[in-house]
């Protein structure tokens, strides 16, 4: 937005005008797509996502449908619910996963051999949703007066409390009732019934998939309407500036509670569905790991952007699955690095020089090491095939990489922290060694632990990097701070 430097930026109207004007300025093929997209009615937007999703089961095997399809939809539904609380209303709820767990456990209590209840789904689902909504209300009540950060820690504590509770609730003696094994303790509740709508059982993977798809589509449409409603606008006002919203006589506390309850209800619904898919409710499923995944989805998609969240769910649920095997992980990792370099390095002469430097640096190091310290090149890279064997002639693979790779990892973290502080020339000179170090750590340490810590390390690093580059998320719209 161009404006004379000495006029203060008052009011949002100018900003609104600039955003409206942005639509006219879209150019090229990207602009054409964006223009079409913004003109589509909500139902059509949902169809754009639902159609490929509905065809997906016909194109793939049952195992893939379970691994990719079901989990993507569960994540999407969870993130949509979280989006109400965090994206719309701006309340940082870090205990959100506990509501998901509440839903799963409540459904398990109503429909499993644990208590001998076998409710029909059309009766159980409303009870579960109402129950989690009430829990959300109870958690929201003390939290409604809190500022963002206090709320975050209180809800985080609530999430932990939930895990502790379900882990140990088998040992509690209740007043009046006596001893009752409410949650099965660390073993959880097993053999949860499949959904049974009026006698129609939903127990195959593809039936569950379509049920989830319907749930996602319904919630999506509901959210689109809510987003445009009075309540949705009030939530956004609350998110942007709670004080200003209150001054405009928006009932802030009631809206906060409403967002909490709404989000909890969606999480409860998702929990009930997840319970039937997993056929068990286990305490470990509702811990911080899931919370981080759901947040990653929402942040990747952009706060408050409904469609961005669906895209985020597809990315976040499929990339870690692809990363499980080193055959897939390697091209993904190098592809990402190459892409980052291609985008960042201009002009192309510099790019060519850096890449050439990297290749030369690798051969030089490998040559020196094999002459002076043969121990450093005795090992082999993970995997087979021509590329892996070719890598053996360029990258160092120590016979026993554990200790040296640990040191290299710490060195790498330190180097990445220091690197942006350097001057341009030093950055250009040191880029090839830094990239070589990245690759060394990747090949010798991260790839070895690809099933465990690596994925979360990458996720954490991605969150920090994304916040640095685009604080509003991939599809979110930037907000202006008007001081």
């Amino acid at each position: 937005m161009e404006q004379p430097p000495d006029t203060p930026r008052i009011g949002v109207d100018e900003w609104v005008a600039s955003v409206e004007g942005k639509r006219e300025r879209y150019t090229g093929p990207r602009g054409a797509v964006l223009k079409r997209w913004e003109r589509l009615p909500p139902a059509a937007r949902v169809l754009v996502f639902a159609t490929p999703a509905a065809v997906f089961p016909f194109l793939t095997s049952g195992g893939n449908l379970f691994r990719y399809g079901l989990f993507t939809l569960v994540y999407a539904l969870l993130a949509l619910g979280l989006n109400i609380v965090v994206g719309f209303a701006g309340l940082l709820d870090l205990g959100y996963v506990a509501f998901f767990g509440c839903g799963a456990y409540m459904y398990a209590i109503l429909a499993s051999p644990q208590f001998g209840n076998h409710w029909q789904a059309e009766a159980a689902i409303p009870v579960v949703v109402v129950f989690t909504a009430v829990v959300g209300l109870l958690v929201g009540l003390p939290s409604r007066r809190l500022l963002g950060d206090y709320l975050a820690i209180l809800t985080l504590f609530f999430g932990q409390a939930f895990v502790v509770f379900v882990n140990n609730a088998n040992r509690i003696s209740f007043p009046f009732v006596g001893h009752a094994d409410l949650t099965g303790g660390a073993n959880g509740i097993a053999n949860i019934d499949p959904f049974n709508f009026f006698g129609y059982r939903i127990d195959s993977t593809s039936q569950q998939y379509y049920l989830l798809l319907i749930a996602v589509a319904l919630v999506l449409i509901l959210l689109m309407f809510v987003n445009e409603s009075r309540t949705g606008r009030a939530w956004r006002a609350l998110r942007e500036d709670p004080l200003a919203a209150e001054v405009m006589s928006i009932p802030v506390n009631r809206l906060k509670l409403l967002a909490f309850v709404f989000g909890a209800a969606v999480a409860g619904l998702t929990g009930a569905i997840y319970g039937t898919i997993a056929t068990a409710a286990l305490p470990g499923d509702y811990d911080v790991g899931l919370l981080i995944t759901v947040y990653a989805i929402m942040i990747l998609g952009g706060f408050g952007s409904i469609m961005g969240i669906v895209v985020g769910a597809v990315i976040v649920s499929s990339v870690p699955e692809l990363l499980r095997s080193s055959a897939n992980a390697r091209p993904l990792f190098y592809g990402a690095i190459l892409l980052a370099i291609l985008v960042k390095l201009r002009p192309w002469r510099l790019l060519a020089a850096e890449l050439g430097g990297l290749v030369a640096f690798g051969f030089a190091i490998h040559g020196i090491a094999s002459a002076a310290y043969p121990r450093l090149v005795d090992g082999e890279s993970i995997g087979s095939g021509v590329s892996a064997r070719a890598l053996d002639h360029w990258m160092l693979f120590p016979k026993n990489p554990v200790k040296i790779a640990d040191v290299a990892y710490i060195l790498l973290v330190a180097a990445i922290v220091v690197y942006p502080q350097l001057s341009r020339v030093w950055r250009a000179v040191l880029l090839p060694p830094l990239l070589y170090l990245v690759m060394f750590v990747w090949e010798n340490l991260l790839l070895v632990h690809i099933g465990g810590a690596t994925r979360l390390i990458l996720l954490g690093a991605m969150l920090v990097a994304l916040m640095n580059i685009r604080p509003q998320g991939l599809f979110g719209t930037a907000t202006v701070e008007i001081a």
């Binding site: 809190l146 975050a152 820690i153 409390a161 991260l446 810590a453 954490g460």
Partner: protein, 308 residues
């Protein structure tokens, strides 16, 4: 009443409380200046415990230390505090400074990312197994008593060292030039920078001090309880934050008192309340909710007046 149980619980409560107070100070200092909740603080504490472990083993291990026990202990604290301090400064530089003018939620998410990153880096490098400090070999198993008040050397050391650090911090903030700069930055960052205070430097120093205190707390925890593991920072961080909120976040004496209250409450809950050893965290959580309901600004905090 069983007095010996009461005294035991009091001693362990005071020990825990000193640890929580040290962690809470880090939260409080950073919050006071940046209004930022440093989620990664608990993980800095965990890294401190591991740095102490490495220092111990670099100095010959607990059984055959290179120097006498006291010197080794001192060096462990120095290594952990310096290492954590530098780590804290690096975290601020990398994850929080670029986001100073971003929407409020962005640095929180970034902090969450740092926390995941540190936790899993520790898992990657230290492994999932518990590490043992073997304090008994280093210091001995002797316990002392004053009447019925029995305590071990690490417990005494923790309480004394924590009090020492807190006194030093209070004096630093109240008397030194940098402390003055910290107070004025916390009061009004913009005005402070107009008065010629290098705000970035003050923030770096704050992170250094807070993280160093957390590192010291990590070593103390390991000395008292023996075992360390990569996930220990999470719950400790939560408790530390609870302590900071209880005392009134941003207030230094508040963090100390809050830490002691949380520690004692946890210890008494373990001993006296039904199923206390399992549900101690739930009881602390209930305490937190109670305080927030009655006095949202904490015991020592001032109620915030928001200006438009």
């Amino acid at each position: 009443m069983n007095w010996s149980l009461f005294f035991d619980l009091t001693v362990s409560g005071l020990t825990l409380g000193s640890l929580y107070a040290l962690i809470a100070l880090g939260y409080s200092l950073v919050y006071g200046i940046l209004k930022l909740l440093n989620f990664a603080h608990g993980d800095v504490y965990m890294i401190g415990a591991f740095l102490g472990w490495y220092a111990l083993h670099a100095l010959g291990g607990p059984v055959n230390p290179t120097f006498t026990g006291a010197v080794v202990l001192f060096l462990m604290f120095v290594v952990a505090m310096l290492g954590c301090g530098v780590l804290g400064v690096a975290i601020e530089r990398f994850a929080y400074r670029p986001l100073r003018n971003a929407p409020r939620i962005a640095p929180l998410i970034s902090a969450l990312g740092v926390s995941i990153f540190l936790q899993n880096s520790a898992l990657l490098i230290f492994g999932a197994a518990f590490r043992d400090y073997d304090t008994f070999d280093l210091i001995g198993v002797k316990t002392y008593n004053i009447g019925q008040l029995f305590f071990s050397v690490p417990q005494l050391l923790t309480v004394v060292a924590a009090i020492g650090l807190m006194v030093a911090l209070t004096l630093f903030v109240a008397r030194s030039r940098l402390g003055k700069a910290m107070r004025s930055t916390s009061f009004d960052r913009e005005a402070a920078s107009m008065m010629g205070i290098d705000v970035d430097r003050v923030i770096s120093v704050t992170f250094f001090i807070g993280s160093a205190l957390a590192g010291a707390a990590g070593v103390m925890f390991a000395l008292v309880f023996g075992q360390i593991y990569h996930f220990m920072g999470f719950i400790a961080g939560l408790k530390g934050f609870t302590a900071a909120v209880l005392g009134g976040i941003g207030s230094i004496p508040g963090a100390m008192v809050g830490g002691l209250i949380v520690g004692l409450a946890e210890s008494y809950a373990t001993g006296y309340l039904p199923q206390g050893s399992t549900f101690q965290n739930l009881y602390v959580f209930a305490l937190l909710i109670l305080v927030i309901l009655i006095r949202p600004s904490g015991l020592f905090g001032k109620a915030a007046i928001s200006k438009v």
